[in-house]
């Protein structure tokens, strides 16, 4: 039954991804992506990575997508006239042929990597417990193990990433700040809509 669920979630996530690309309304795009993330979180869970599933929901779905929604609504994009042809009319544009080719190339390469690699666990191993990796004996649980690694071996990247977050916070504030007259660097009128 878990297998069937996996395939269902996989199909749904693909459909949602396609929806991200093809839908017109930006909010529809965001919601579609959100749905895709939920499906992926389920898949993570099924594969035994509970911590990641939680992180995915909390951070990706709960923070990043919310941020996207905020910005869209801030800029009032939904009410703007349609920016472009969407839907299948996307493919009528000039570059679309090359795009499809490149994307297809990427897909094929990925598949080829999978197919060609001898180490791929193409079949489940005979002695693998039906519950997946949870029942692997002698190993710490996922969260415990990850904490041990994170604050042990990967302490430096962890600290670096925290610095990165700090820098980002500062950068975002600076970038999105409405320009005061004294701070104006380039000539030009300020944004029409008052978006403080």
């Amino acid at each position: 039954m878990a297998n069937a669920l996996f395939y269902l979630m996989a199909a749904l996530s693909v459909v949602a991804a396609v929806g991200v690309v093809l839908l017109r309304n930006p909010i529809a795009n965001v919601l579609s992506l959100l749905f895709s993330f939920f499906c992926l979180a389920t898949i993570y869970l099924l594969a035994g990575f509970q911590f990641l599933a939680a992180a995915q929901i909390l951070v990706y779905a709960g923070a990043i997508m919310v941020l996207f929604l905020f910005v869209i609504m801030l800029l009032n994009l939904a009410s703007l006239p349609a920016l472009e042809d969407t839907g299948l009319a996307l493919f009528a544009r000039g570059r679309s042929g090359v795009t499809v080719v490149v994307a297809a190339a990427l897909l094929c390469l990925g598949l080829a990597a999978v197919v060609g690699s001898p180490a791929t666990a193409a079949q489940t191993l005979a002695d693998m417990p039906p519950d997946g990796i949870d029942a692997i004996k002698g190993t710490p649980g996922l969260t415990e193990g990850m904490a041990g690694e994170m604050f042990g071996r990967y302490l430096l990247p962890f600290e670096a990433v925290s610095m990165l977050l700090l820098a980002t916070a500062v950068a975002v504030v600076v970038l999105a700040k409405r320009n005061r007259p004294g701070l104006e660097v380039r000539a030009g009128r300020d944004a029409g809509s008052d978006v403080s």
């Binding site: 490149v102 994307a103 190339a105 990427l106 390469l109 990597a113």
Partner: protein, 706 residues
């Protein structure tokens, strides 16, 4: 061979060389003085076919004619330069006179037992095993040639002083003329083949200068080029021949070669090399002496002034080939097939040229083809081993052909540059002295009995007949037949020329043309040459007259070895009866055809017009020397032009330049295309990034994914 060392022999060619230099300096001064003045007559188109009338401050020979047609020349220069360039003929004539005097002195010194006079050598190349000197030897043969060159040359220089008066480049002309004489003297006086070749090339070069003297008109320059290039082909053959001689004998000294020939004949391989050497040298002679196939430059060379045609293309340069052959006579005497070939080439050339002269309208072209024809006669003589006869004909031909050319020049001068005989007629009333002398020359050329040309021509034909009958070589009947036919044609076209020019009604407007006799400076040389043409036969009276053949005797030391080789193959002397018979046949033929030609054209050009209308094809064929020139253009010049086009346009411009420019264009186009990549469109950038990622991933996978 007895030799005496001379220390003044070098003066003989040095005098004309010095004259040339001085005239050259005079010319330079004249040009320089002319420069700052406003050029009132800048156009050179004023000079027409053959010189212009003009006033000159120095008119030393009393030409009393005022000239109302003085619009043709340059009165723009000041008096001083005109004075300077008027000095030029004096200097040139003085140089020639001095050379002639020295030639006479050398001739005097060669009588008796002395056979050669040698001058001190100047070492030119010394490589130990092979040394070349430039030394001069005058022997019996060279003395004859030298006398002809300097003597006839002197007369022509005097004539040219009057003919070229008023020309813009008066001094330059004499500089070139003297330079030519110097080169020709080097040719005949040199003791080895290298010095001879220096002179050989030198005369070719001066011929180019002088043919193209009026190069501003355009076609003389082309004619000069044509002459030079055809000569060049001959020169290449000459060089190959001399290489073979060096290989055979190890030396290029002429007397050494002549002495060593008989020693080579025993070995068949070396004899074969000797044959080839002779053949190639004959090829060189064909180029210089205008025989088949290298003769088409001579008629075109008539673009030069008439004294040039007289000196170079009648009396001297074209005789260099005959001189060379006689000088190396043992080489030819040793190979009867080669001799027959020489005779055949000469005979065929004589026939072609003679038939071409029948339909020419330009008086100078008649004489040009006649020259080619007579040179063919000389080669027929060489082909039968009649060395002395060939030289005899060379000498008499120099006399009467120079006379005819100078006379034609006088006619052209008097007719104000008209050269077309169809526009002449009845000139004997206007130009009596020219007429009389011209008739003398024509009589000699056509071989009327007892004149110089008669004896020389007949001697050659007699030798040919003897070779055929007594020598039991029936091939020579062909040569004899061709010679007879040519003699008939010669008489015909010669008197046709006389009739059209001097007799009949005047086909020009006598009232307006103002035809007049030439000044004394021009007619005096004509008269001297006329006397020589008439009386020159005494040099070579036939045996049956009971007297010595003076020239053959004189040249005996030179022709000894060749004669011996021929005699070894069998005597061939005609009996006295056959000799008289041939003399009579020759006389009848000459007189008969002369009368025919004269009467056909006495009334005017009607016969020519009839030929033109009834058989224009024949007219064209004959008029163009049997289409040989056209054949050259089609077969040689055409492909060379195509090759020129291929290399210069296709290979150079299209391919090479195209490649270079194309590379630049490709680089530019690529740069243009690539430049558009910086479109600023982020999506495009993204696309490129994606494609690059795909590429890297592919490479990674292919590489084994390490």
């Amino acid at each position: 061979m007895n030799q005496i060392d001379l220390d003044w022999l070098w003066l003989l060619p040095a005098l004309p060389l010095a004259g040339s230099l001085v005239c050259g300096i005079l010319h330079y001064l004249t040009i320089r003085a002319r420069l700052p003045q406003p050029a009132a007559h800048g156009a050179h188109g004023a000079h027409e076919a053959d010189g212009a009338h003009g006033h000159a401050p120095m008119d030393a020979h009393g030409d009393a004619h005022a000239d109302p047609h003085a619009h043709h020349d340059d009165h723009g220069h000041a008096a001083a330069p005109a004075g300077l360039s008027a000095l030029a003929p004096w200097i040139a004539v003085a140089a020639m006179a001095g050379a002639f005097a020295l030639a006479v002195k050398a001739w005097l010194g060669l009588r008796g037992e002395t056979h050669a006079l040698e001058s001190s050598a100047w070492q030119w190349i010394d490589t130990g095993s092979f040394a070349i000197d430039l030394s001069m030897v005058v022997d019996r043969l060279s003395s004859v040639m030298t006398l002809v060159i300097t003597g006839v040359g002197l007369l022509i220089h005097v004539y040219a002083a009057g003919y070229m008066r008023g020309d813009k480049h008066y001094a330059k002309f004499f500089a070139y003329l003297n330079l030519f004489v110097f080169a020709m003297l080097m040719l005949v006086l040199s003791s080895n083949l290298i010095g001879l070749f220096v002179g050989w090339e030198g005369v070719g070069l001066c011929s180019y200068f002088l043919i193209g003297f009026w190069y501003e008109k355009g076609w003389p320059a082309e004619a000069g080029q044509k002459a030079f290039i055809m000569n060049r082909i001959g020169d290449a053959c000459f060089l190959i021949g001399s290489f073979l001689l060096v290989r055979l004998f190890g030396t290029l000294d002429l007397s050494d070669i002549v002495g060593a020939v008989s020693g080579v004949l025993a070995d068949p391989e070396r004899a074969h090399t000797l044959l080839l050497a002779g053949l190639f040298l004959f090829g060189g002679a064909c180029g210089k002496s205008a025989q088949l196939p290298l003769f088409t430059w001579l008629p075109d060379a008539m673009a030069g002034p008439t004294p040039v045609s007289a000196l170079i293309h009648a009396a001297t340069m074209v005789t260099a080939g005959i001189y060379l052959t006689v000088r190396l006579n043992p080489i030819y005497a040793a190979h009867p097939e080669l001799m027959f070939l020489i005779g055949l080439v000469g005979a065929v050339t004589a026939l072609i040229a003679g038939s071409t002269a029948l339909v020419q309208r330009d008086i100078k072209r008649v004489l040009a083809y006649s020259t080619v024809s007579q040179l063919g006669y000389m080669f027929i003589g060489l082909g039968t081993g009649a060395w002395a006869a060939a030289i005899f004909h060379l000498v008499t031909h120099a006399f009467f052909k120079a006379l005819l050319f100078l006379g034609a020049g006088s006619v052209i001068h008097g007719m104000h540059h008209e050269q077309d005989m169809h526009k002449m007629g009845g000139l004997r009333r206007h130009m009596p002295r020219t007429f009389v002398t011209f008739v003398c020359g024509a009589a000699a050329l056509s071989g009327l009995p007892l004149l110089s040309g008669f004896f020389s021509k007949d001697e050659i034909l007699a030798h040919t007949f003897a070779q055929a009958s007594v020598g039991h070589d029936p091939r020579y009947y062909v040569l004899w037949g061709l010679g007879i036919a040519t003699a008939a044609m010669t008489a015909f076209y010669t008197w046709r020329m006389v009739a059209l020019t001097f007799f009949g009604k005047e086909r020009f407007d006598a009232a307006h043309a103002h035809v007049h006799e030439s000044p004394a400076v021009m007619t005096l040389p004509l008269m001297v040459l006329a006397v020589l043409s008439i009386a020159g036969g005494v040099l070579g009276l036939p045996h049956v007259f009971g007297v010595q053949h003076l020239l053959a005797e004189w040249l005996e030391p030179v022709t000894r070895s060749g004669d011996a080789l021929i005699a070894a193959r069998g005597e061939h002397h005609l009996s006295a009866q056959v000799d008289w018979l041939l003399l009579g046949l020759g006389s009848v033929l000459a007189i008969g055809f002369a009368v025919l030609g004269f009467r056909a054209y006495r009334a005017g050009t009607a016969r020519d017009e009839r030929i033109a209308t009834r058989s224009p094809g024949l007219q064209r064929f004959l008029g163009g020397a049997w289409g040989i020139d056209e054949a050259y253009y089609a077969c040689i010049v055409g492909p060379i032009r195509t090759l020129f086009f291929l290399t210069s346009v296709v290979a150079d411009q299209l391919i090479i330049d195209g490649a270079v420019n194309g590379t630049a264009a490709v680089a530019r186009t690529c740069a243009d295309r690539v430049r558009r990549m910086t479109s600023g469109s982020i999506a495009t950038y993204g696309l490129w990034m994606g494609a690059s990622v795909a590429l890297i991933a592919w490479l990674f996978l292919r590489g084994g994914g390490s």
